[in-house]
């Protein structure tokens, strides 16, 4: 290896480089394939369960449209109209192929297209959820990092205490406190309502700040806690000793080695947190009077509008699945050793 000819070396190097890029794209494909292999069954089971719900519930559009004292003939006619007289699996298949084409059917209550209805609320909910994620990740990151770097000091204990307090506050408690203090008490923010970003970024931010804050507490707590413990864990790894012995500075060891490995579990936590975030939007949208996706879910469920509820669930699962897909891709980028697991 000491006396290789230059041409040979450069050719080899090119070969190695090509192999490396192929390696990288193959890894991305592998991650995608593995995630799909996990999420396709998830999607199938979840949609099947949501669909089976209707049969179990015994709810029917006839009841909603005709009232309690309808004749059996009238009920049968309406159910046939909605295709509810077909065998269960046929109904499921019809509905499922519709879902694959992006059609979620129409509402039992007013016959409106459910995809459109959900699309209207989704903008609100996604604005709030994204903002909540940003707040949660940034604040959680800072708190977790500082606590890990100053562990067993008063700063660490203060942060850990703060994180404990906010982690036991359910979103609706945070929401009420925020409304009471910042909206009603000081009048800093509007207590309810929504203004789309097109009508001005300022008002838009003002309206989504409180709900986003309410949602973000949980994320802050989880990110901070996970980051703190995985950073502390990473600091106990031998490779930190190895890097120290090689004479790397503490700063470089933190940013180049510890953070990189500590980030993995934190990202994974974020992926697991996302469904809860989507779920909690029901509560915050109720508190802050936002006509979002969660509010729509709640209203439809209370009204017994089964297709609407199914549509909401499908969309929420799709959201969770795509978010986790992104997380997995980032994870694969940050730590290639996470080959096992996901």
């Amino acid at each position: 290896m000491t006396t290789t000819e230059p041409q040979v070396t450069s050719a080899r190097r090119r070969g190695v480089a090509v192999a490396r890029t192929r390696h990288a794209s193959a890894r991305v494909l592998a991650v995608l394939a593995r995630s799909v292999a996990i999420f396709v069954p998830v999607f199938l089971v979840a949609t099947f369960v949501t669909f089976a719900l209707r049969s179990l519930s015994g709810l029917s559009p006839a009841r909603i449209q005709l009232g309690e004292d309808a004749t059996p003939e009238a009920i049968a006619r309406i159910e046939a109209q909605w295709g509810l007289d077909k065998p269960f699996l046929t109904q499921y298949w019809d509905w499922f192929s519709g879902v694959l084409h992006g059609e979620l059917g129409s509402s039992w209550v007013n016959g409106a297209d459910i995809s459109t209805l959900i699309g209207l609320g989704l903008g609100v909910s996604l604005s709030v959820a994204t903002f909540a994620l940003v707040i949660g990740v940034v604040v959680g990151f800072v708190l977790g990092t500082v606590a890990a770097l100053r562990r067993t000091t008063a700063i660490d204990r203060a942060i850990t205490g703060f994180v404990t307090v906010i982690s036991v506050m359910p979103a609706f408690v945070v929401g009420i406190v925020l409304v009471a203090v910042l909206a009603v008490g000081f009048g800093l923010f509007p207590s309810a309502g929504y203004i789309p970003a097109e009508q001005g970024v300022g008002p838009w931010l003002a309206h989504i700040t409180l709900p986003a804050l309410a949602l973000s507490f949980d994320v802050i707590a989880d990110v901070a806690r996970q980051l703190r413990s995985s950073l502390i864990g990473a600091y106990q790894e031998n490779y930190v000793t190895g890097a120290m012995v090689r004479g790397l500075s503490p700063r470089r060891i933190f940013f180049g080695h510890v953070l990189r490995n500590g980030l993995g579990p934190t990202l994974a936590t974020l992926g697991q947190k996302f469904p809860a975030l989507v779920g909690a939007s029901v509560v915050t949208e109720w508190i802050f009077g936002l006509q979002g996706f969660g509010r729509f879910a709640n209203d439809s469920a209370q009204a017994g509008d089964v297709p609407a509820v199914q549509g909401v669930l499908v969309v929420s699962i799709a959201l969770v699945v795509s978010f986790n897909l992104i997380i997995n891709l980032v994870l694969a980028r940050v730590m290639p050793a996470s080959q096992r697991g996901v």
């Binding site: 069954p41 979840a46 719900l53 982690s167 036991v168 009420i176 469920a301 669930l313 699962i317 969770v320």
Partner: protein, 297 residues
């Protein structure tokens, strides 16, 4: 293990709080000074001798409603945890022994349940299956059961495939002894931790659901419901949400504290923690003592 948990300050605090809350749930309805459902003209009253926590928008005594509502909130979260334990732990343990097909199937179900935004799903299922507290608890229990599935499966796997159990079998230890010595000590602590966590999580979910008015019929008081009715009158009684909110938070905190205490006293982490305390104490002693160098004794 109970004794070791109680040896920790955090464990003692957690157990005390939880015992008080449980007592509240058992005795709350009798302790209530007034009828929690009786309305009066004295609406939205401030704190007074007659109404320690004031009255709500229908003039009902808030303290009575709080005490009366404790039963549903507390028993509800216990029910959630027990349902989750049964639904999760049994397939979790069986998944190690019943072959690959069962394993694959249960793993996919667990993945699915984890991926569901469970508050949303719980609302949907409860609304469709009929609005009742039992449905609410069952559905919530099933939705949080993957935690038990994972924990019990991991513990069983660790025990079933661990070299030390094999070694014990090879060296002729009786099954009973192995179960007592290895399986029990490995499986029980993580399940206990998960149980404490789930009671906390269940508490949040039950409160969230009752906050939205799901799972209970309107006049019946719950802690979540109290908060919901306070929301509309914040400008009149800004302090009203404090009592139920604090109760919810303290209960959840005590559950988490208990989970941490159990985790701390079991396994490797526990030993490291004890060492840490000892070393710090020793160093302080050495620094304070007459021999500041602290060397050999």
């Amino acid at each position: 293990m109970v004794r070791r948990v109680l040896a920790l300050t955090s464990g003692r605090i957690a157990v005390t709080i939880l015992a008080l809350i449980a007592l509240l749930a058992l005795l709350g309805p009798w302790l209530a000074p007034q009828n929690p459902l009786a309305t009066s003209d004295n609406a939205l009253a401030a704190t007074s001798g007659a109404h320690w926590l004031g009255t709500d928008y229908l003039g009902r005594d808030v303290l009575s409603r709080l005490l009366d509502g404790s039963r549903i909130s507390v028993l509800g979260s216990l029910e959630v945890a027990l349902v989750a334990l049964v639904v999760g732990a049994i397939p979790g343990i069986l998944s190690v022994y019943l072959g690959r097909a069962f394993e694959w199937f249960t793993l996919r179900i667990a993945d699915t349940l984890v991926a569901l935004p469970f508050l949303l799903f719980a609302i949907a299922v409860i609304a469709l299956l009929g609005n009742g507290i039992t449905q609410a608890m069952l559905v919530t229990g099933v939705l949080v059961s993957p935690l038990f599935y994972r924990v019990s499966r991991a513990a069983t796997l660790a025990v079933a495939r661990s070299p030390y159990v094999e070694a014990a079998i090879v060296s002729g230890a009786s099954i009973g002894w192995i179960v007592r010595r290895h399986v029990w000590t490995k499986v029980l602590p993580p399940i206990a931790v998960a149980l404490a966590q789930t009671i906390g999580v269940g508490f949040v979910i039950v409160s969230s659901l009752t906050f939205l008015g799901i799972g209970v019929q309107p006049p019946e008081p719950t802690w979540g419901g109290l908060l919901a009715s306070d929301l509309g009158y914040l400008s009149h009684r800004p302090w009203a949400p404090v009592a139920p909110a604090l109760l919810i938070m303290v209960t959840v905190w005590a559950c988490n504290l208990l989970a941490d205490a159990i985790r701390d006293v079991s396994g490797e982490a526990g030993r490291a923690l004890a060492n840490d305390h000892k070393a710090r104490a020793n160093r302080r002693e050495a620094a304070a003592g007459p021999h500041p160098a602290g060397g050999s004794r």
